[in-house]
């Protein structure tokens, strides 16, 4: 394998590519964080990702939408969701597009996981989806305690738990999980 004079330039290109990929991930994420900020009410589970540490899995209340049946949605198709806020300030689905909207960047791209009939209404379909921001990474010593606190707070009607998410041009970044306005990380520390 004799190509000595090309090795250093090849290595330089490799260094550039190796730095570019994670940097692009950072820049894309920062761009999404500047987008529309929404609060999603959560409805959890405590696993471990061996490469990225402990996290809690989040599931959300607002995870389905009623759409006209003539649109004939199918499982696996991509839906583009536009959101607005309810009276309490939590995100609710406002519009569902079957194509990427060009007039706004405040939308989220999600795959449809289930298509259901609406009882007594053949003109409507119900589509369900999983949000991509379903993992919240925490320090491993706090993750279990957070999960327990979280489960208890879901059952307690005086507590409202929600995820703070920024969306931009189909992508989303989860910034924090809050309970009654206080970050879960801080609540676990206090308790």
């Amino acid at each position: 394998m004799k190509f000595n004079k090309y090795i250093l330039p090849a290595f330089a290109i490799l260094v550039f590519v190796q730095l570019y990929i994670p940097l692009k991930m950072v820049l894309d994420s920062e761009k999404v964080l500047k987008g529309q900020e929404l609060k999603f009410k959560t409805a959890p589970i405590d696993p471990t990702d061996p490469f990225r540490g402990k996290y809690i899995v989040l599931s959300f209340e607002e995870n389905e939408a009623i759409v006209p049946a003539f649109q004939k949605w199918r499982k696996g198709e991509l839906a583009y969701l536009g959101f607005t806020s309810d009276t309490d300030g939590f995100a609710i689905i406002d519009t569902v597009y079957s194509f990427k909207p060009s007039s706004t960047t405040d939308f989220l791209e999600v795959p449809v996981t289930r298509v259901l009939r609406v009882p007594n209404n053949d003109n409507k379909q119900k589509i369900r989806f999983n949000y991509p921001f379903n993992r919240y990474y925490m320090e491993e010593s706090k993750a279990y305690a957070a999960e327990v606190f979280y489960r208890n707070s879901i059952r307690d009607s005086t507590k409202v738990t929600y995820a703070v998410v920024s969306i931009n041009n189909g992508k989303a970044i989860l910034s924090d999980v809050m309970c009654n306005g206080v970050s879960l990380k801080d609540l676990v520390d206090v308790n």
Binding site: M1, N4, I7, L8, A10, F11, L14, V15, V17, Q18, L19, I21, P22, M25, V26, S29, T48, D49, P50, F51, R52, G53, K54, Y55, P132, F133, N134, R135, Y136, Y137, M138, E139, E140, K142, I173, L174, S175, K185
Partner: protein, 429 residues
């Protein structure tokens, strides 16, 4: 060290002269390389591996108390250190194996940790497959630029992990073309190791990982007529076995011939599985029909595999070593009519059992003829495994099973004892 001791012993006993002792030492030094350098390489790689793994563990700890910006900067530090050490190696120590392997290994893990940390900091949606794919693609050039065999091994493990993380276990599975491209990308380096360092331990590890990756990757072609994959796997394993026994290949493997072990044990293992009625019941029930078989992807893959294995068999015939590969080297061909028969008749299961018995007997005979303990034990193991499998089928009393086990055990002991005695007698003569 034992060589040094032996040489010293022979010198003191006057068996060899000091000149001959020097010649022997010089010969082994040039043949195997300086053992101290090898040790340094090993410690260097292990050290880099531990540091790299330590970084991964720290990644998993989650640094809650730091700001996002600080975490992001810290995420890039191992990557920059790794790149710096590789640059130093390329410019100042390009011929040092220890430096090349250690710095490349460190950078390999630093790439993974950087991407993982950024994903964790921004709580990015998880996709283990795409994470591993990105990691391996960024690490692949290190194999060629730094000529790092260690990174090549990690790369092979990584792409196999990527393969099974995808939809490998779905039925029908979809062909993972990306995996095959990734696998082919490492072949030039494997060939380079094979040619330039045939006796190296790194090369030996590749001799294990490459065929195992091929076996795993073959599973991606099970698309609809999965039963035909039995023919494909036996052809691939047969090809490994035949390849391993070629005259100019046999001597290349320093200690264990991985292609031989995987080929022989894999073939016998599949046949043992096929020695049960239940498998043939399923083949009979899942009869896809001739047309569907011929039109299937599995059939398309079977053709080149059978041709390659047949060509290797032909090479043995040309080298006049055809007897040495009998019977295991022929199984892939013999199995084809048995497989066809299995769609019509239960006789196929009896034939497989007879085939296994024949393999056992012929292998024992070959072991005795060549005074090879390994071959003898392979034959004995085949028969013992066959007997064990039949225990699950046949209704025998515990006492009878116990007696048969004892007899098989005594048979093992006596055969090995007799073989050792023969070997000692031949040595004395």
């Amino acid at each position: 060290m034992s060589l040094q001791k032996n040489i010293k012993e022979l010198l003191e006993a006057g068996v060899i002269s000091p000149e001959i002792a020097d010649n022997i030492q010089n010969y082994y030094k040039t043949k195997g390389g300086n053992p101290h350098n090898r040790l340094f390489v090993v410690f260097g790689v292990i050290g880099a591996l531990l540091v790299g793994l330590g970084i991964i563990l720290i990644v998993a700890h989650n640094w809650d108390n730091l700001s996002k910006e600080i975490k992001t900067i810290l995420a890039f530090i191992p990557l920059l250190i790794g790149q710096g050490s590789c640059f130093f190696t390329l410019s100042k120590k390009p011929n040092s194996i220890a430096w090349r392997e250690s710095s490349a290994t460190f950078l390999f893990f630093a790439i993974g940790s950087c991407i993982a940390l950024v994903g964790q900091i921004y709580n990015l949606p998880s996709n283990l497959s795409s994470f591993i794919l990105t990691w391996m693609l960024l690490a692949l050039p290190l194999v060629y630029i730094l000529r790092s065999a260690a990174v090549s091994l990690f790369y092979l493990i990584g792409i196999n992990f990527y393969l099974i993380q995808g939809d490998y276990w779905l039925n029908p599975v979809s062909i993972n073309y990306t995996y095959w491209l990734l696998f082919l990308a490492i072949f030039p380096f494997y060939y380079y190791l094979f040619k330039s360092k045939p006796k190296s331990n790194f090369t030996n590890f590749h001799h294990w990982l490459i065929p195992l990756s091929l076996v795993l990757g073959l599973g991606t072609f099970a698309k609809g007529t999965e039963t035909l994959m039995l023919v494909n796997f036996l052809s691939l394993l047969g090809a490994f076995y035949l390849f391993s026994q070629l005259k100019n290949i046999k001597n290349i493997f320093p200690r264990s011939n991985s292609y031989f072990i995987i080929g022989a044990l894999g073939t016998i293992g599949i046949l043992l599985g096929l020695s049960f009625f239940e498998i043939w019941d399923e083949i009979y029930e899942l009869d896809y029909g001739f047309t569907k078989y011929i039109e299937s992807l599995e059939f398309l893959v079977a053709i080149p595999l059978i041709l390659i294995a047949s060509y290797l068999l032909y090479m043995h015939w040309q080298q006049k070593t055809i007897n040495s590969v009998f019977p295991i080297g022929f199984i892939f061909l013999i199995f084809i009519p048995i497989f066809i028969l299995g769609h019509f008749s239960a006789a196929a299961v009896f034939l497989v059992n007879l085939l296994l018995l024949a393999i056992g007997i012929f292998t024992i005979r070959k072991g005795v003829q060549t005074s090879n303990l390994g071959t003898l034990n392979l034959g004995l193991l085949s028969i013992a495994a066959l007997i064990c499998c039949r225990f699950f089928d046949l209704e025998l009393s515990f006492v009878l099973r116990g007696v048969i086990f004892i007899l098989v055990g005594i048979g093992f002991f006596l055969a090995n004892y007799w073989m050792l005695k023969q070997t000692q007698t031949n040595e004395i003569q």
